[in-house]
């Protein structure tokens, strides 16, 4: 599949993320690429989606997405509601109203468990990173969780070194029995899109991106996903989607490297 215009792997990921949102859905968004995907979805096929930031911001229309983080007031601009964690993560998420939780991660494993806490041996030498914030809550309660991550062998492991945010745990029905709601739905990398096998809950290739080979996808991950007999190529972005990202959503190119 080819297009007559150039696009970056970041733009492809952002568009793939946007396609996971349906019109009218409520989406809990983490910073970074999920912000671009959500705003893109709202400007295209999902104008009635509701975007939530965990700290208490609903449906903002920022003038810029080149921000420091969720605590940067630039990303709160023109919100319909300014409220609290108790509202966003409590009365919306914990009550079961969030359709899609959109998260980035440091490391993801074969069953969709996410690590944002530490690298190394938690009992021995390790490097500490961000921890959960609202990530664990979103992965525990959102109806579907969509994860975006760079496709690198050190980030895609058989088992994460620390489960910050639960996926299917060790697979099978373990998640169902653990008191959690919802489930991981997609993992989107810069080489492929994954879903999960309905029985084993192991990560399964759903499509590979244009200009990538199956060999390249597998060589750059540290576990073997399930490979279906029929493996389509990811639908490339449209010219209009790429234009919206470049000219309207992220003209400062703030997220191209993330």
């Amino acid at each position: 599949m080819t297009t007559d215009f150039e696009y970056s792997s970041f733009e492809l990921m952002a568009v793939a993320g946007a396609r996971e949102l349906k019109d009218g859905e409520i989406v809990g968004v983490g910073l970074g690429l999920p912000v671009i995907s959500s705003f893109l979805a709202k400007r295209t096929h999902a104008p009635n989606a509701t975007i939530l930031f965990e700290l208490g911001v609903v449906d903002p229309e920022p003038l810029t997405v080149a921000v420091h983080g969720l605590s940067d007031p630039r990303i709160w601009y023109r919100a319909k509601i300014h409220t609290s964690f108790a509202d966003m993560l409590g009365t919306v998420l914990h009550k079961g109203l969030i359709d899609v939780g959109f998260l980035g991660a440091l490391e993801v494993d074969a069953y969709g468990n996410l690590n944002t806490t530490l690298l190394g041996d938690p009992k021995g030498k390790f490097r500490r990173f961000t921890g959960s914030g609202g990530g664990n809550d979103i992965a525990s309660c959102a109806r579907r969780t969509v994860v975006t991550i760079r496709h690198e062998a050190r980030k895609l492991n058989e088992a994460v070194s620390f489960i910050t945010s639960p996926g299917y745990l060790h697979g099978g029905d373990e998640r169902e029995k653990s008191g959690l709601m919802g489930a991981p739905s997609r993992v989107i990398t810069d080489k492929a899109i994954f879903d999960f096998d309905p029985q084993s809950k192991r990560m399964r290739l759903k499509s590979i991106h244009p200009n990538t080979t199956l060999e390249d996808v597998l060589d750059n991950m540290s576990f073997k996903p399930i490979i279906p007999d029929n493996l389509p190529v990811t639908e490339p972005p449209t010219a209009e989607q790429v234009r919206l990202i470049r000219e309207e959503i992220d003209p400062e190119n703030a997220y191209a490297g993330s």
């Binding site: 910073l31 930031f53 965990e54 700290l55 208490g56 911001v57 003038l63 921000v67 420091h68 983080g69 969720l70 605590s71 940067d72 007031p73 630039r74 709160w76 601009y77 300014h82 409220t83 609290s84 964690f85 108790a86 993560l89 409590g90 998420l93 914990h94 944002t116 806490t117 938690p122 390790f126 490097r127 500490r128 990173f129 961000t130 921890g131 959960s132 914030g133 609202g134 990530g135 664990n136 809550d137 525990s140 309660c141 620390f162 489960i163 910050t164 945010s165 639960p166 745990l169 373990e174 998640r175 653990s178 008191g179 959690l180 709601m181």
Partner: protein, 299 residues
């Protein structure tokens, strides 16, 4: 009754080993002037709690004022990790009780309602929970829903000795507005035994009475009101001033090493006698005026 006091007097009311809930979130409404005064007065062995780690907790940990942090993780976003907190965790010099944003909020909420525990779905299946299950005395437990028979994870309430909350507007009794998103601040105040309000603007009680629906911090919960402009610098206060990008960068670089942090503390905390001198040192009126928020944008 007026509770207006100096920052020094408000900090002097906090004894070592107290549990202090701080209002910061990453780089927004961090209790920076308060943290600096705690460090200058040598208050030690604090327990600090907040939903998402912020610059106020980070500098307090870096200065050795904190023995224990109760929080849901966090970073400065794209300006990097909280180096002081992370270094202390890696070197095991800081006791941690690590949760998530919602489980922290629920713990404050249970504290605010006077409930003995609160059920939650979050944390189940995670290594965050595994770590918490090893703590004594216990912070988490399991019990059966008496109505459905379903098993639930339950959390212990959090009841800080004092909440320290950075606000835009307060009167002398401590009735205060928090403008913009307020993350865990309302639950922190209501869970705590008392509250110290640090306000950008001190207004008359007539102004508070004119808009009673805006009063988020109840005056009767407040012990001290400190009126101190730019007291969250270099973090932002929505509608009042933006964060100081350059100074946050400077702190980010300095705090990467213990030596750099010491230099920073010597210059900006120990090297000034109070907040006014600090404001001069970070650029004075010229810098602060550039940070003033646009009334429509809020930053």
């Amino acid at each position: 009754m007026s509770k207006v006091s100096t920052l020094a007097d408000a900090v002097a009311s906090i004894s070592s080993e107290s549990h202090v809930a701080l209002s910061g979130f990453a780089t927004a409404r961090c209790t920076m002037a308060f943290a600096h005064e705690v460090i200058r007065q040598g208050v030690k062995k604090l327990t600090v709690s907040q939903c998402v780690g912020a610059m106020d907790a980070d500098i307090l940990v870096g200065a050795g004022a904190v023995d224990r942090i109760v929080y849901g993780g966090g970073s400065r976003g794209r300006t990097g990790q909280h180096h002081c907190i992370n270094r202390a965790i890696e070197q095991r010099t800081l006791a941690t009780e690590e949760f998530s944003s919602l489980s922290m909020t629920f713990r404050y909420l249970a504290g605010s309602l006077g409930l003995p525990f609160i059920p939650i779905r979050s944390l189940n299946g995670s290594d965050i929970l595994k770590d918490l299950e090893e703590k004594t005395p216990p912070l988490v437990a399991r019990l059966q829903d008496p109505f459905t028979g379903e098993e639930w994870l339950v959390l212990k309430p959090l009841i800080p000795d004092v909440a320290v909350i950075q606000v835009q507007v307060a009167d002398e009794e401590g009735n205060a507005w928090i403008l913009g998103p307020r993350w865990d601040n309302e639950e922190q105040v209501k869970a705590s035994k008392r509250t110290i309000v640090i306000t950008e603007q001190l207004v008359s009680t007539e102004t508070i009475r004119r808009h009673p629906e805006r009063t988020l911090v109840h005056g009767f919960r407040v012990s001290h009101v400190v009126h101190l402009p730019f007291s969250a610098h270099p973090s932002s206060v929505y509608g009042v001033y933006d964060f100081d990008h350059e100074h946050i960068d400077l702190f980010a670089k300095a705090s990467k090493t213990p030596e750099g942090l010491k230099e920073y503390l010597d210059k900006y905390v120990y090297g000034v006698k109070d907040h006014w001198e600090y404001l001069e040192k970070v650029g004075g009126m010229k810098t602060l005026d550039e940070l003033r928020a646009d009334p429509i944008l809020g930053y």
